[in-house]
Symmetry: C2
Subunit: 150 residues, 2 copies
Amino acid sequence: MDKSTLNYTAEQVFEIERELRYVSSIIKQKGREILANFPITPPQFVALQWLNEDGDMTIGELSNKMYLACSTTTDLIDRMESNQLVERVRDTNDRRVVRIQLKEKGQNIILEVLEARREYLSSVLSNFSKKDVEDLSRTLSILHNEMGKE
Amino acid sequence: MDKSTLNYTAEQVFEIERELRYVSSIIKQKGREILANFPITPPQFVALQWLNEDGDMTIGELSNKMYLACSTTTDLIDRMESNQLVERVRDTNDRRVVRIQLKEKGQNIILEVLEARREYLSSVLSNFSKKDVEDLSRTLSILHNEMGKE
């Protein structure tokens, strides 16, 4: 690639890589602290989050989203099913297909965890200017979109 | 707090929380793919990164940065020491104090891993405008700073 056409400098890449690494690490730790108040584990949170966001899905679909082997996801869902967080439901048109569905208890917990995360983020954003909040939201959305293309 | 003074809306908090969660998850997965090409594990990468960034430190200091129990960090450092990535060094002024120091092999690996992460980020940033790169860098830095205050 012709370096003269680049819209970023090596210093910016250095900075952004580092900031993303630090911010991710703080969010992971803060997420664990929040989960400590709820009866679910971090992988269970991730599974509930995907089911809440994208609706019922098969073990295979959930495994892809979670970057896990199907056998690992099966074990995870077994535990979540015995804890009444989710249930396995047969497709009414094709009874060979089984999907995982959020149960009310799982739905309530995920909504409360996400609300606690938003409360934390609100406190972090309270010292941002209006423009900086807009810029952060816009550029994170572009970043997510571009990362998804890889 | 008086809601009329807020510089962010509930929708922005919703969006930013979600984007941060997704971006962190993609970075974690991409980071694992990169590490698969190197002879270190994810926790070893995190330890090497802190030693590279902040210099020699005690097990206690490293445990705090990694949010790990000292016994877990001790096990981690034992394995890294036998793999020639780090070594335990006694303080010359106070020989009761032992610090972890990067060895050349550990230094080389961490620099290569960080370079691979920057290459990935560069490809992601290649479709950003110059202004969006600047806005992302600036707002991530504010975010990190504000999260550190919590």
